[in-house]
């Protein structure tokens, strides 16, 4: 097989793989004791619109109950939308669910798509038949995935005996053996240790780079986002609160950048224009910036003998937490 560059093997057509417009889903929930039951409508997703181009990795963030899983369920055809339109790979998920299923891979971190009582290998073999994958393709992909996700030691173990991390890698394999165009992941790293998380993240990056697979994932782990996603969408109370790249998300937040200065000797708190000293610890001082860091660094270096300098970007975690905390009205809709 010639070593084609990925881009040549997978020319990206202009049409987006996911096209969502004015998407909404509400649930009627009954509460209270029998006879005095009251009905209430929950707008799990309201007027969400976005597109995902082929070959992208997009993170879908939001606090608990924001509507992330509900959106993913509508994209995969599990739930019918209450309003709006969804197109995935040119199909209408709710109406063409089975056809779509053959073209996408889905992993729910919370539950398995494998068969509990079968050894992992048999579960994967069954997947091959359900997706009508030719035997040679299956064997080759299984070998690749076994190596990349280190499945070897537990291929013969019944799924119910697998650890969470092993099961997740098995689920990921099952979702990829038919070589889907789009991979939808709902909390793929939930409950995993750092090593497993890292294995999965590196694998996803590779899959995206070499196979051109589009990846859409929800997560509460901002480490996933920072490592994987060029673009993030934040949903809150069913509405899109942000859609753009991570840098824009950082900029949108009021959380300031911090300059950590290590001086040659302890001194009084530094005062320079465009910065405010927030903490002093021996020779180390923390300056909150509200102006161009270059100017501040120059000013500090001119007045003091500096041993070391580090510029700390606001933690993406703080930025997102801050975004969640802002009241919906004030937050409006930030689009970058």
């Amino acid at each position: 097989m010639p070593d084609l560059p990925a881009a040549a093997a997978h020319p990206a057509p202009a049409d987006p793989i996911v096209d969502v417009r004015g998407l909404g889903r509400s649930f009627t929930v009954s509460e209270g004791p029998f006879l005095r039951r009251t009905r209430r409508t929950v707008h799990a997703v309201a007027d969400v619109g976005f597109t995902v181009p082929r070959g992208a990795i997009v993170g879908y963030l939001g606090p608990n109950g924001a509507g992330k899983s509900t959106t993913m369920k509508m994209l995969t055809g599990i739930l019918s939308p209450s309003s709006g339109t969804v197109r995935v790979a040119g199909l209408e998920p709710a109406r063409q669910r089975t056809r779509l299923a053959a073209r996408i891979g889905v992993v729910f971190g919370q539950r398995t798509t494998l068969w509990w009582d079968l050894p992992l290998r048999d579960s994967l073999a069954l997947t091959r038949h359900l997706y009508h994958v030719p035997a040679t393709d299956h064997a080759r992909r299984l070998a690749e995935l076994t190596e990349l996700l280190e499945l070897g030691p537990f291929l013969r173990t019944p799924v119910r005996q697998l650890s969470l991390g092993q099961r997740m890698r098995g689920d990921l394999t099952a979702a990829l053996l038919h070589d889907p165009e789009l991979l939808v992941l709902d909390e793929p790293t939930i409950g995993l240790d750092v090593v497993s998380k890292s294995t999965i993240r590196e694998f996803l990056l590779k899959l995206n780079a070499e196979r051109g697979t589009t990846i859409l994932l929800t997560t509460h782990d901002l480490g996933d986002v920072e490592r994987l996603c060029r673009r993030v969408m934040v949903i809150d109370h069913g509405r899109l609160a942000f859609d753009g790249d991570i840098a824009a998300l950082r900029d949108s937040a009021p959380a300031p950048r911090t300059l950590v200065v290590d001086l040659a000797a302890p001194t009084a708190p530094i005062t320079v224009a465009g910065a405010r000293c927030v903490a002093v610890e021996g020779p180390r001082q923390w300056l909150e910036l509200d102006a161009n860091p270059a100017a501040v660094i120059a000013a500090v270096a001119a007045e003091h003998e500096v041993a070391d300098l580090t510029l700390r970007e606001p933690d993406i975690e703080e930025v997102v937490a801050d975004l969640y905390r802002r009241p919906a009205g004030e937050r409006g809709r930030i689009t970058a």
């Binding site: 097989m1 070593d3 084609l4 990925a6 093997a9 997978h10 649930f27 899983s69 369920k73 995969t76 055809g77 599990i78 739930l79 019918s80 709710a94 669910r97 089975t98 056809r99 299923a101 053959a102 073209r103 996408i104 889905v106 729910f108 919370q110 539950r111 398995t112 798509t113 068969w115 009582d117 079968l118 048999d122 069954l126 038949h129 359900l130 997706y131 009508h132 393709d137 080759r140 992909r141 690749e144 190596e147 990349l148 280190e150 038919h178 070589d179 165009e181 750092v194 090593v195 890292s198 294995t199 590196e202 694998f203 590779k206 899959l207 070499e210 196979r211």
Partner: protein
Amino acid sequence: MAEPSTARTLTTEPRRTPPAPRSVGAYPLLAWTWMRAMAQYPVSLLLLTFGQAASTGLELTALFFVFGHAHQLAGFGINEALLIYGLAGVAFCLADFFMGSVERLGEHVRKGSFDTMLVRPVSPLVQLATDEFSPRRLGKVVPAVAALCYALAVLDIDWTPARILMLPVLIVSSIVICCCVWTLGASIQFFIADAREVANSVTYGGQAMTEYPLAIYGRSVVRTATFVVPLAFASWQPALFLLDRPDPTGLPEWLRYAAPGVALLMSLAATLAWRTGLRHYRSTGS
């Protein structure tokens, strides 16, 4: 840290367009997979099969007990009753064998496993029907088949060519009708999560009822079982046809030929109910 194991690259061949999903072939495949999984515990499988056969055998004993006291019920003798019992048993037990698992829809919805069925390119109904598919359910069919064969042999049936041809048609129709009743029962669970008991009262309750000559229950029950939940076509109408007897409750005679049409109507109703249910599926909040 934790670099992926190797520098291995993924193959870069063009992506293949997947073939259209085919659900029919998936049934035997999934059923076979479950059977293999069950076969890991052969002793328990054997015991369960035997247990199922024994429990149906017990019903048969009850039938003999009833007829030991009253030699006739609504004008039907023991052999005729065995025919009805056999027809009902074959229809219900085979429907149970093929589709019985669908009644566990509510459980799958609650556990979230129904979501995972929906993201596979195979009809969720097929996946549900084959879930934990086990040959042990065939155990129930054995006494029913035995009763049916015995009754067909000893009864004085006028085997015209029409009767010989109609017998398999009636049996297949009755199985289809029962499968549809199972599916309808499952579809209700899309709307009422714990409707399993209600569904069971129709499926298992219906089986218990149609094992006896329907005439003993009176007119309104026969009418309900003919026109509302058409289980009369599982045993009662075919038996009247084979025995060439007029309907003691006074329903027209052409009804006994209606089973294939009823099976078709029921299939349409079941498909519609299932589709409607799927469209209203709400998944779970977590």
